[in-house]
Symmetry: C2
Subunit: 378 residues, 2 copies
């Protein structure tokens, strides 16, 4: 694994050199983890430049961690090949320590920082600690590296999806009527960890009856009743990688006609979105084809901003599948496709998969979350 992280730092080093910068300071936690394998709270990675006197090989890069504050755990294991320096108790922000290190080592006159992550106050402290260093903006350079996943990352996502499928599958075998949304959500989260997840990828949503399919619903003490729609959205974290699955079920022996109709509509929209996932497609186009199916049935108002989004070390990554999204999808980009419709007072349907974009020659989009999308009556 150490080689993976060193290669990623080398790719960032090349980008920095192309941008004319000598070194980069990475502070966004998911980016720190991507480049180092670990994300101790508050840690930063210093990637030294390809040119200049201060180094330029991955052996010179540095993971700077704050002194452990108290007894709470960190995430991941740092890359063995990356020099790690844990700052002594009471010392400054690791980002400031990195700037001081740069100034002390010499040879570089500029440092690219993540202006979308560093606060104004930290940025000012950096500048004050190393007044001779010009602070530039690294922008989303690391996020761009993270956009297309390697097979190791995809295999972590695949395992995360398997875990979520297992947890959901087991829940479906149990008695649901009479149990509360909160208990079902907890039960799912316990099963995620039982099956090997590091934890949940985001707070599990379980929504019943009139709240089913409602975006942003938090589990309540409402109990599952006969005739309800039941919608569930959950995800596992495995080695830092996060997946997402959402399904909607009907409780009881026979769904009502309106339930079948609504389900079929959302299913068609979700399928249209999934089938649009080919390398080179515009993100806005995937959103459009899914939204169009719902729109043709009159559901245009009150729709969420996104039809889907990238997943990886964060649960909401680029790309965004939204009307105004400009980028294109590439092979090996994992995304969710998750349209839904909610009828106020009645309930609704949401169907959500995590897939990896693959060329048609490789069989087209790879579905990671394989739980059935038939309308199950439970």
């Amino acid at each position: 694994m150490a080689e993976v992280h060193a290669n990623r730092r080398d790719r960032l080093r090349e980008r920095c050199a192309a941008m004319g910068g000598a070194a980069a300071l990475v502070s966004r936690p998911s980016n720190v983890r991507y480049l180092s394998g670990a994300a101790p709270a508050g840690a930063v990675v210093l990637v030294l430049g390809a040119s200049g006197g201060s180094g330029g090989s991955s052996g010179e890069d540095l993971l700077l961690c704050p002194a452990p504050l108290s007894g709470r755990p960190d995430e991941g294991q740092p890359d063995d090949a990356l020099r790690t320096r844990v700052l002594p108790p009471g010392s400054a922000d690791p980002a400031v320590a990195a700037a001081e290190h740069m100034a002390a080592v010499g040879g570089a006159d500029s440092l690219a920082v993540e202006e979308h992550d560093l606060t104004v106050a930290r940025h000012r402290a950096l500048g004050a600690a190393a007044p001779g260093l010009r602070l530039a903006d690294l922008g989303g350079a690391v996020e761009q590296l993270r956009y297309v996943k390697d097979e190791e990352e995809i295999s972590c996502l695949r395992i995360a999806a398997e875990i979520a499928d297992h947890a959901l599958g087991e829940l479906l075998e149990s008695i649901l009527v009479g149990r509360t949304e909160r208990h079902l959500a907890l039960e799912l989260e316990r099963r995620l960890v039982d099956h090997g997840a590091d934890g949940r990828a985001f707070p599990t949503s379980v929504a019943t009856g009139p709240d089913a399919g409602r975006p942003g619903h938090r589990p309540t003490d409402r109990r599952v009743e006969e005739g309800d729609f039941l919608s569930v959205c959950l995800g596992a974290v495995y080695r830092g990688y996060r997946c997402e699955i959402g399904r909607t079920f009907v409780i009881g022996t026979s769904p009502a006609a309106w339930q079948i109709e609504l389900y079929d509509l959302v299913f068609a929209a979700q399928r249209a979105g999934r089938e649009a996932l080919v390398p080179g497609v515009l993100c806005g186009e995937v959103d459009r084809v899914a939204r169009q199916v719902l729109g043709a049935a009159g559901f245009t108002e009150g729709q969420p901003t996104l039809t889907g989004h990238g997943v990886g070390l964060e649960i909401d990554e680029d790309p965004k599948l939204a009307p105004s999204a400009m980028g294109k999808l590439d092979a090996c980009v994992p995304v969710t496709v998750e349209p839904g419709v909610h009828l106020p007072g009645r309930g609704g349907v949401r169907i959500d998969d995590t897939l990896v974009v693959r060329p048609e020659a490789d069989g087209g989009p790879e579905l990671l979350t394989i739980t059935t999308k038939e309308l199950l009556a439970l």
Copy 2:
């Protein structure tokens, strides 16, 4: 509850007026929740100034929320009396929308922002959106308001602590030998929610044998064995408020002599810290008295930075109980006291309580986490 939030915004308004600022933009999530009762992801609170043409009563304040991105839940319920504006899909950062609102309403020429929360990139976007508005620094003004808790906040912390005590107490009644750290941690987290917590306050730590008492230990698949030290650190969230409790136990019928000795030492250090919690004491002094007990027994190296810290809407708040901490404790400030010793390869002890500083006339420090601190052999 609405009145509570309006009063808090009024107190902030007074501070802003004293600082010469007309309005404040609050973006740090825990601060947004403190002032509004809710913390939708990415939301900001705009508190208008006491002087100037643009308002100045809590009825004019504004909670600006981004359009819901997808189906994941938010935390808390917004204050009914606070005007809430959910931005349309695809629109800008709510902080930028707040600056535009200020510019459109007119009458104010400066806006104080949280430079310790806003990123450099967001700050720049704010400035560009409202070029006529001078951006000042609000600093930690809201954190300062949050430092001393009102009785409603303390009662949430008290309930959070009761929940954690219950969860821990039930675990102690079960068979522990042979179970893994991960399972015990999960079991505790499930019980937290069963007893009414919104969730865990931080990832639960369970450490056995050589890892017991080790700061930052993440639960592994190691099983509890006879003769082990077992240390546990957990906390519940109740209505957004977070507490913390840590205990160490011995597994088996009779602790070894070294275990009793080490336990008594950490207990004495923790008691010294607890007893030092009087209104007006220096934070560094509380740390010193606890550290001194450990130091007298030769444990000076490798100690964590903090002996304790404030708790509230975040699990790590001010004050910090650390050697260099300058501030003083006040009545109604809740803090943890959590010294420990870890002997590499052998294990260790950590004892952690959440208490509220109270004057001696009121009975001295109020212990929220009441699980016994006798050395239990389980």
